[in-house]
Symmetry: C2
Subunit: 121 residues, 2 copies
Amino acid sequence: MDRQSVVTSLSALAHGGRLDIFRLLVKAGPDGLPAGEIARSLQVMPNALSANLKVLSHAGLIGSRRDGRSIIYAADYSAMSNVLGFLMEDCCGGDAAICAPLVDIAARSACCAADAPNMPA
Amino acid sequence: MDRQSVVTSLSALAHGGRLDIFRLLVKAGPDGLPAGEIARSLQVMPNALSANLKVLSHAGLIGSRRDGRSIIYAADYSAMSNVLGFLMEDCCGGDAAICAPLVDIAARSACCAADAPNMPA
DNA sequence: TCCATATTTCAAAGGTAGTTGAACAATGCG
DNA sequence: CGCATTGTTCAACTACCTTTGAAATATGGA
């Protein structure tokens, strides 16, 4: 994963509304949620939601598939872990002796990374 | 950790130059690096570096202390883990059965979180 | 075909953030 | 004290991002 992709992902998440969307999808799991339900849950207008979903999708953080009239979005866990990995690469120069607290948070982050409903392209 | 703090942190990292700085400090470990050395390593002008260090510092991602004429910056690992934790909170609705790949990356992220040279304030 | 639902696209307005060069502090040494 | 070194601040300019409302596209059912 190159630096530019990571910057794009972080930029996508560096926005209150999009962070809410992403976290909702992270909680929702691999099955995802239809756009309309996201809009209702977060109380945002559909056009604003669509714009933000597009940004997250372009960053690769979420995927989408159509189901009838609805479009279902789901978090891409592997993309997320790539970003986290890039951030923490070669942490402490490889010497992870004094490290501990991050293991905890890391363990809690361990999550559904199997086949999410990824986009057609 | 509230949502706004996380957005501030992600915004700080959503910039090529600042991402380079942060990753360099993550690699450097708790002892950190003087600003001048960062500038030399990344080949950036001192005023631009100073501006970016200020953004990262204001976001709480790095700390600083003066040592003679130099100012030494170091990554704040606990701030980083707070951000990661917020992103992955209640992942998959608490059911982490199907999850695995993120554990790997998480383990690699485990790192120096002990007393970094935090700022005076 | 006609309509309702679900979601996206477009364009204009406003605000926010990045870049650059020059000037300004703070420290240490002779 | 005077000067070189190390970092920081300021101000102007540019560019990008966000927001909002209205119009457009796509699907499913009568």
